[in-house]
């Protein structure tokens, strides 16, 4: 009898340890060697705020830079809507969330918010009326921001023209519609602690960490989430699916991550979202580049590169080494026979801009060769780009690929997606019409 009790106890302890391990998430910079200190005790160059060239600017100018670095616009703007007026729909498995209006309109925006209200929102995820925000709003990242930076962002938002635009109410299913439940989630997953520099690392690394973790919140998309939907830093930057698009592995793994990119290449990709031979960022990452990263000062891009280069490699065996060889000038009969429908659509709708070889005759942003998207055997992002189209800012102006989601059937989009990965990628995909139907609806609209 006694032995039985001991066995039960041991089992319970093991279960608790396992549960704790699943629930426990290390801090965002815990992977780095050396211990962290409070900002006030840090002797190195201040990693927070704006770059030196802007430091003497007024608070609105500094706020503009920080607002872009935090990429508030991407989520707080409906497709084709007024920037920061909200209304973007996040289609989640348990319902739809709408981003709120953060222009200074007093009735429908945040015009009545005090400084303390704004700090509370970004640091604690609590609205002025005491209700809790959902972590689609990345306050576990923004909590790392200093008060000065938070208030500079507020000053910039309050300098914008107020836009009167009601936010549509969320349509979340029970129990997810109970906002108070987020109180417990926050206890676990919101540190409510400002960024802690690491004196063992360089000044650039610390600035890069502040940019990536506090402002840019890279991990919110690129790090997988645990059972409780918290960013799981045990798999930091190892890649995840967010809003229907695959945010790829950005660890230093040479095959499935970005470990083979040198410093210059990484910097160029961050600043432009495109490097010849490595493809082009599209979807949410394209937006992150266009609205945020391309506006960053070169020294901040370099700091981000230093930080990214320090991320431990995690291999994702589902992603092959990207194929860097061009495809043939024209498809062979055998290749066409394998996927006649895909080949037909590619010839009619895609080849004119993208070219048959994977090297675009029109512009390098439309190149396929070497890009991660066509080298992803799930074809998820290929399909999303086809369904929704792509708009990107280049140094030579805006380029656009039209969305084909309303022009082609799910079967046709699946066929041409599979054709594209087979012809231009390292491994062919087997995406189905049913997949297309599902993932198309997952994208934020």
């Amino acid at each position: 009898m006694k032995r039985f009790h001991w066995g039960l106890l041991a089992l319970a302890i093991v279960a608790c340890v396992v549960a704790a391990w699943i629930i426990y998430v290390p801090g965002p910079t815990a992977f780095a060697s050396g211990s962290t200190v409070a900002l006030g005790d840090y002797k190195g160059t201040n990693p927070t705020g704006v770059p030196v060239s802007l430091a003497s600017g007024d608070i609105v100018k500094r706020g503009e830079y920080l607002t872009r670095a935090a990429d508030c616009e991407a989520c707080h703007t409906a497709k084709g809507g007024v920037p920061y007026a909200g209304g973007l729909a996040f289609n989640l498995p348990f319902g739809t969330l709408y981003s709120p209006n953060i222009t200074p309109d007093k009735e429908t925006g945040i015009g009545n918010w005090t400084d303390a209200d704004f700090i509370n929102a970004l640091h604690k995820g609590i609205a002025p009326d005491g209700s809790r925000f959902y972590p689609a709003f990345p306050y576990p990242s923004y909590t790392l921001l200093t008060n000065d930076d938070v208030l500079a962002i507020k000053a910039y938002l309050f300098s914008l023209k107020p836009v009167r635009q009601e936010t549509e109410p969320n349509s979340l299913a029970f129990p997810f519609n109970q906002r108070w439940g987020m109180m417990f989630w926050s206890l676990f997953y919101n540190s409510n602690e400002r960024y802690r520099p690491n004196p063992s690392q360089s000044a650039e690394w610390n600035r890069g960490a502040y940019l990536a973790e506090a402002l840019g919140h890279c991990g919110e998309c690129h790090t997988p989430r645990n059972l409780l939907q918290a960013v799981d830093n045990k798999k930091k930057f190892a890649g995840a699916v967010t809003a229907g698009w695959r945010a790829y592995n950005i660890t230093q793994d040479a095959t499935s991550g970005i470990g083979s990119w040198d410093l210059d290449t990484t910097a160029k990709f961050l600043a432009h979202g495109h490097v010849e031979g490595l493809g082009t960022a599209s979807g949410p990452m394209g937006e992150a580049i266009d609205m945020s990263l391309r506006h960053m000062a070169p020294e901040d891009i370099n700091a981000l590169v230093v930080y990214l280069k320090s991320i431990p490699a995690i291999a994702d065996t589902s992603l092959p080494l990207p194929k860097t060889m061009l495809a043939s000038g024209f498809p062979t009969n055998q290749e066409i026979a394998e996927n006649a429908r895909g080949a037909m659509i590619f010839a009619g709708a895609c080849a004119a801009c993208h070219g048959w070889s994977g090297k675009s005759p029109i512009l390098s942003y439309a190149d396929f060769v070497g890009g991660r998207t066509v080298n992803d055997p799930t074809a998820r992002n290929v399909a999303q780009a086809i369904i929704w189209g792509v708009t990107r800012h280049t140094p030579n102006g805006v380029v656009t690929m039209p969305g084909f989601g309303k022009a082609y059937s799910d079967e046709e989009i699946a066929a041409v997606s599979n054709y594209i990965t087979a012809r231009f990628g390292a491994e062919k995909s087997r995406i189905t019409a049913a997949d297309i139907k599902t993932i198309g609806k997952q994208a934020s609209q």
Binding site: F330, T332, A347, G348, A351, P361, I362, N396
Partner: protein, 150 residues
Amino acid sequence: MITLHVNGQPHDVDASPDTPLLWALRDVLGMTGTKFGCGIAQCGACTVHVDGQAVRSCQLSIGSVGDQAITTIEGIGSSDVGAKVQKAWLDLEVIQCGYCQSGQIMSAAALLAHKPHPTDEDIDAAMAGNICRCGTYVRIREAIKKATAA
């Protein structure tokens, strides 16, 4: 000011680098043989050659052309392949309304310049991006074969 090399002649174009080549050709240089169809590289009416490659000029910015040689429907007849294609087109009365045909001829000439003896599959692949509302596809394929034999 951007200099474009069109049909062997340099032309100075006073337009911003993000202007589509098609706009520069038609509105600035007055070469209206190249047609505007869809504006999003889906129909092929605006096809010209840039260094011998068939490209959709509605989606190509003049800033990215550089010193590359541009050939339009106005100049294609001066190359051997181009002249053969044009003759075949006339011999077989390929054209109905004609709006897409500048683009069709440019795509056909680019194909034959790279592949003097294309298979049916090559023709399909090269010509699929050029659409014709009148449905002249059968005669287009015949004419390409005729130009090959000539």
